[in-house]
Amino acid sequence: MPFIPHTDDDTREMLEAIGAKSIDDLFDEIPPELKIDSLDGIPEAMSEMEITRLMRDRAARDGAALCFIGAGAYEHHIPQAVWDIATRGEYYSAYTPYQAEASQGTLQTIYEYQSMITELTGLDVSNASLYDGASGLAEAALMTVRSNRKAKSRQVLLAPGVNPTYCKVAMAIAGSQGLTFDYLAMDAATGTLDFGALDDSAEPVAVVIQQPTFLGTLEDVDRLTDWAHARGAFVIAVANPTSLAVLKAPGHWGEEGADIACGDGQPLGVPLSSGGPYFGYMTCKQQHVRQMPGRIIGRTTDLEGKPGFALTLQAREQHIRRSKATSNICTNQGLMVTAATIYMSLLGSDGLAAVARQSASNTAKLVAGLTSIDGIERLFSGPAFHEVALKLDRPVGAVLEALAARGILGGYDLGADFPDVGDALLVCATETKTEADIDAYVGAMREIFSGSAA
């Protein structure tokens, strides 16, 4: 789109032509009480120089330490080419472009992304992305209420390993539409669902299963999927996409497979960046596609029979269905999705599996080292992927502070989200960690546990 400048005179003439006195007049249908000058808790504006300085200082603080925190966002090596290509002018937009005549390349990129994500999750269709994994779960839950019309219930049951933040976000978004979210009981020994405590008279609209769990454990997804389907509930899978390179795809869980899969796409080429922007992915079975939120790119042929790409199934969306649209999501995390597509293309399925295996192996090494220290043991029995919960014999907060003083971000303190598990620390070592990094962490921890530092 060429740049079209306008002078003050142009603006005045345009306002005159439509009979408005000022630009503010164009917004006079917004009630004045809804217009606010300031927000509580938001500081005064800063100059560009001040804000640049502040951000540089914060970024330096974030990037300097050795990071062993996972808990939903994971540090992976991102090939230099990913963001070199993603930030080219042809791609550099946050939006999903909708003009097929002007955007074939970008539309094809999103189509390739959708193809890769459906392959990873073992489901039929993907949308063009959502904001993040947490809002993705909210959208998936709303989708089950629309799509699972046999179910009268609006209760969503969550396996105990579903990310607690995702649950809070889903409640904030979907709670006002009458959905309730309730956790199922956890087996304290394994850190997975307590099948003995399942209530067979439950009639939820959906059951959410996160794999690997937030606590790093692996759920019996086949059994829980079949239990949910036997109750007439849909199954929503929440999965780390890296793990899907080596674990069973949600579309193959149990007899019939999960109905919807969603999660955070951040591990696929998006840097941690102090918490965002990330993107959410969502895939589902073909029969639910009309209830799916967001844009979907389809492959078609033009009048001359040549292949081309265009938005499809738009009758779900707000520009056509207005208030009855499946969601108000439309354009969103396009740039992150472009990066993820390039990341997956460069790694390939073998490369992604190698990342997953190396991360699992590094975490196992780290856990072996840490649990050789007196006062640290594994919190749960059973297999893990690339994240493990540890039980400490002392408060986690002080240990993490002592580690931070040594330049190490030692993990995620589980105390706030899981008060029942006591002093527990969730650690993760992705493929980015070398043997020396792991030794450094174990050495620092040994020092803290043997000395007076803690």
Binding site: R149, K150, A315, R316, R321, K324
Partner: protein, 129 residues
């Protein structure tokens, strides 16, 4: 020009109703409605046994250019839906008053404003002019 069967009742939302001998009421959209929507690609049907109230939405018809709600013209219980539309939504385009029927209701009493063929024809003439 749309042809209006004389044995049906109509609504201002361009739906038709047929009183069946067994007391049930068959509902569809009119020839005018299908022509305005264009080629239909998808029909979302209600569940059998579902109760609907006059004026509430009970189905969705989606064409290549729009998606529209189908409203329940009368209150009642859904006793049958035209499952054939799932695979062949264009039956509504091809035969709106026959194979393109959408829902059959067991009426429960409350009826909205229904139009005679003449009154509906007058409404169409009004739209055309």
């Amino acid at each position: 020009m749309s042809e209006l069967p004389g044995d049906l009742q109509y609504t201002s939302d361009h739906e038709w109703l047929r009183r069946e001998d067994d007391g049930t009421v068959t509902i569809g959209i009119t020839d005018h409605a299908q022509a305005a929507l264009g080629d239909l690609v998808y029909v979302e049907l209600p569940e059998v046994h579902q109760d609907v109230e006059a004026g509430s939405d009970m189905a969705v018809v989606e064409s290549v250019k729009a998606a529209s709600d189908v409203y329940a013209p009368i209150s009642g219980t859904v006793v049958a839906v035209n499952d054939a539309l799932t695979d062949d939504p264009e039956a509504i385009n091809n035969d709106p008053y026959g194979d393109g029927w959408i829902v059959r209701l067991e009426p429960s009493g409350d009826e909205g404003d229904l139009l005679s063929p003449d009154a509906y024809q007058a409404l169409l003439d009004d739209i055309d002019s």
